[in-house]
Symmetry: C2
Subunit: 209 residues, 2 copies
C-alpha cells in the first residue's frame, strides 16, 4: 500500500495524520500539484477526479477521497479506533466528520480557490477548469467563520469534536482550522475552548505528519 | 428510533431508501421545511444545523447528516450490507458515495438553491441566510452535467456505481440524478448505460420509499 500525497496540501494531510495516529508508516509518492502532475494522463489513470490523496493497494486498486482512504486504513488497522467503537459512537463521529468536512474544510477551499490569483480557472479541484466566482470567495469566508464559532461552542461542552474520545472528526476539524489560516482567518482571541483544543492538537506528534 | 423527514426533499429520501433496502420501517415525523419548521428552536435542539434527515434514538441521541444516519442503520442492521463487506469494498463504496454526494447531490443543490425564486436568502441549508449567487447556479448546472456524463461512463463498465454489488453509492447517485431533473437536467438520450441502470433503480421498491 502506498499514498499519493502533496506535502503542502490540506486534503492528503488528513490521511497522513490518520496514519500517524494509527502508528503506521507507508511509502509516500509526492504529486506536484503546482506543476499540474495530478491532471496528467498517468495520474488520471489512478484517480480520474485528479485529486490527492490516493491510496494504491498492492493489487493495484486505487482509493481516492480522504474519508474513503481513512475508512480503508481503519478497517485494516482497527487500533486505536478513530471511526468509533459502537453504532452510536460511529454515527456521531460520521456526523461530526461530515459537518467539519462540508462546513469547515470545503468552506475554506471555497474561499481560497475563488480568491487566490494562482487558482484562476481552477476554482474546484479536478480536471474541469471552473472559473473563480468572487461572491463565492466572500461566502466561503463567512462560512468558515461560522464554522469556527460553532466549533468553539462545541468544544466548550465536549473535550473532543465528536465526544469523549479523539476521532477522525478532530483531524478534519483541526486541518480545516489550520487551512483557514492560509486566508488569514484565525480563531478569535476569546475562543477559549477552541484555542485549548488547538493546543492539544498541535501537541500530538501526528500534527507534524 | 424515529426519523425526522420531509417527504419531498431529496436528502432525507437517501435515508428512507436505505431503510427500505434493509426492510426496516420506523416511525417518521414530517418536518415542514417550506413553513420553516426546521429553523424553529424546538427543531434546532434536535439538530443545530437545521437540516433533515435526523434520526432520534430511544435514549434521545440525535444523528443528522444522511451519511451518518445510514452508518447508524448499517451498524445496527448489517444485512443486507450496503456499506461493503470487506475493507477494500467498504473503501470503494465510501469513495463512490462521497463522489456522488459532493459532485452530484451538492452540485444539484448548488444549482437549484442559487436560482429558484423560493430559495432567495436560503442558498445553503441551515440557520444562516446566505444570498443566492447567480454564477454559482450556472456552475452547479455545469457540474451536474459532468457528473451525469461520468456516471454513464462508470455504469458502462460496472453494473452498480461502486462495483458488482448494489450499495449506498447507488442510492446517492440515483437520488442525485432524480434531483437534477427538478432543474430540468436529464440524462442525455444516448446515455445508454445510465438509462439502463436508472430503469433498474426505479424498479426497486425502495425507490418509492
Amino acid at each position: 500500500m502506498k499514498l499519493y500525497d502533496c506535502a503542502p496540501a490540506p486534503s492528503p494531510r488528513r490521511v497522513r495524520m490518520f496514519l500517524a495516529e494509527k502508528g503506521l508508516t507507508i511509502p509516500i509518492v509526492q504529486v506536484d500539484l503546482r506543476g499540474g502532475e495530478h491532471l496528467r494522463p498517468e495520474f488520471l489513470k489512478l484517480n480520474p477526479w485528479g485529486t490527492v490523496p490516493v491510496i494504491e493497494l498492492d493489487d493495484g486498486t486505487t482509493i481516492s477521497e480522504a474519508s474513503a482512504c481513512c475508512r480503508y486504513i481503519e478497517e485494516i488497522h482497527p487500533q486505536p479506533p478513530l471511526l468509533g467503537r459502537d453504532p452510536k459512537e460511529k454515527a456521531l463521529i460520521a456526523m461530526w466528520d461530515h459537518h467539519c468536512e462540508i462546513d469547515g474544510f470545503l468552506a475554506g477551499a471555497e474561499a481560497l480557490r475563488n480568491e487566490a490569483k494562482g487558482m484562476a480557472g481552477r476554482a474546484l479541484p479536478g480536471p474541469v477548469g471552473y472559473e473563480q466566482i468572487p461572491g463565492l470567495a466572500e461566502r466561503g469566508r463567512a462560512r468558515i467563520q461560522h464554522f469556527i464559532a460553532g466549533l468553539n461552542e462545541r468544544l466548550g461542552e465536549s473535550p473532543f469534536v465528536a465526544g469523549q474520545a479523539f476521532s477522525v472528526a478532530d483531524i478534519t476539524a483541526f486541518i480545516s482550522v489550520e487551512f483557514a489560516s492560509w486566508i488569514k482567518i484565525n480563531p478569535p482571541e476569546d475562543a477559549a475552548a477552541l484555542r485549548r483544543w488547538l493546543e492539544g492538537m498541535r501537541a500530538r506528534p501526528s500534527s507534524k505528519a
